[in-house]
Point group: C2
């Protein structure tokens, strides 16, 4: 079901709107969890989000994909501190609001529509709440803003892509960093870059560990993708990127679901299906029954990577 | 079933072996068909091929993928004449022969093993036959050469990749040509490059023409790839690369089969399955029954692209 969100941008409104995303840390600076950050993983493609910055609503966006675990985009290329600052990156297709809205000016109208808990703004002053980032709002409030802003809701389906374009951008930046890494020789760079698309030594290494698609049983190499368990972009070393234990051989549709976090595995080999994947789609993919089978236990060395996949890629 | 081949290299042995491929025109210079060129499309992943050049066999290779329609790789980057010289490009993983073999020296032994028709060399002189390029040989002949050459047959499964690495190389060269094309502005370049991975305007344009995967019925955008009918790398203009009529929305496994030529469509919407795709694999993919349905007729503008796909991409 479509949901509606409101974001209070910090200093980064220009980057976020320009770059087509929202970014938040995963936790508060003191390590505490935050509902406003957890909401980043709740938001789904097709949801709408209102951008609030400098007391005005200038943009409304369509969320085009689920959140990715990723560093702040402005830090791309700065490989040293890259993964230390991992947060949630939410792809949004932003559109300008023709008649920008100042919520303070319509407080009496929207006061009662704001959420009781985790409200993005103070219902009496109209100022942004201190700790708020991404807050859920109801459709009535959203409709008032859309109406006042003379905003036309764009076609949602075509905006969404099967694999977030932001992944491409992150991976391109990572590839460039590998190219420029003076500690790697030519052959090493080549193999690390081939591994991005599941080819070369990485693929050969996975074939030494796995023999077939665990879900469909396919063993025809022409139909098997060598897929990283911990994504290539998230690996912290050449070893992780080329490790055969960090890979599975999957049929293309299973690979797609695994890559996007619609499907994962337990350590004992049970298939985990994300609640975000409609059962009707799983059926249309012909995977409903196959996913009920145990696929065989994982090796110790695979389990470390699988834990990362379940925590960070799998969509809860 | 594994087959065995023998290639008489022309002047290009160094490029072909170094680059990991074989390349031939599709027809004779006078337009006539040639069994030796047709064999390029017969060869299949896992087949073995003997390289004969300058009277010696110095290399033996594993064929890692089916032939692609592509220009001579040494012409990459020369976009002007690019597609005029389209031929068959066959990916081969070449290995050196430890003890190079000179067939002339063992004529008496191999004479009777050479094929009666389309022999690569003259059974009496040991010289390469004039018009021969890729010739099929029997396993006995292959075994004699392997034995005399002290050649170890490598592990075949891991050598083969799900999508030929040569496609990546061709597409990278094409992307570079687009980047350097002074007749395109920045936005046009961006959209043409996004189209390579089925994103951006191309994807939006396909959504205007198609609404769902024709085979599985899936309409969830997160599970749909926008796939070129005439491949992006083979398009001759920006119009073809962005044309919504040159695209289908396909579930990832159907997209994979379509991309590699294991599956195509008739103009009336019937699914065509390549004889190269084992029925058992089609079953494991859950597509056997779905592929028996008519998927709805194609528009006139789609049929032009589909004809290209059936002629050039579909594996007979």
């Amino acid at each position: 079901m479509q949901r509606f969100w409101w974001v209070n941008h910090k200093q980064t409104v220009r980057q976020e709107v320009g770059g087509g995303y929202l970014w938040s840390p995963k936790k508060e600076a003191n390590g505490a969890r935050s509902q406003f950050y957890d909401n980043m993983r709740e938001a789904a493609p097709g949801d709408m989000v209102i951008s609030f910055a400098h007391s005005h609503i200038n943009f409304i966006g369509v969320i085009t994909n689920y959140a990715l675990s990723a560093p702040k985009p402005e830090e791309f290329g700065n490989v040293g501190s890259y993964w230390e600052a991992e947060g949630w990156l939410l792809p949004v297709d932003w559109q300008p609001v023709p008649a920008p809205v100042k919520p303070k000016d319509l407080l009496s109208e929207i006061q009662s529509l704001l959420p009781d808990k985790y409200s993005p703004i103070n219902p009496y002053t109209g100022n942004g709440n201190q700790k708020a980032y991404l807050a859920e709002i109801n459709k009535n409030l959203f409709d008032v803003i859309v109406d006042r802003g003379a905003f036309n809701i764009p076609n949602i389906a075509a905006a969404s892509s099967s694999r977030p374009a932001l992944i491409e951008i992150i991976e391109d930046a990572t590839e460039e960093a590998i190219e420029n890494d003076a500690s790697l020789n030519k052959t090493e760079k080549e193999q690390l870059i081939k591994a991005r698309v599941g080819q070369g030594d990485f693929r050969k290494n996975v074939f030494k560990v796995e023999g077939r698609c665990r879900v469909t049983g396919i063993d025809n190499p022409a139909l098997l993708r060598a897929s990283h368990i911990k994504p290539w972009r998230a690996c912290v070393s050449a070893i992780e990127r080329l490790d055969g234990f960090n890979g599975l051989l999957l049929a293309p549709h299973v690979d797609h679901l695994f890559d996007l976090g619609f499907l994962s595995f337990s350590d004992d080999g049970a298939v985990k299906i994300s609640p975000r994947l409609p059962l009707s789609d799983l059926k249309k993919l012909g995977l409903e029954l196959l996913c009920k089978n145990l696929t065989g236990p994982f090796a110790e060395k695979q389990r470390i990577y699988l834990a990362y996949h379940r925590d960070t890629v799998f969509l809860r």
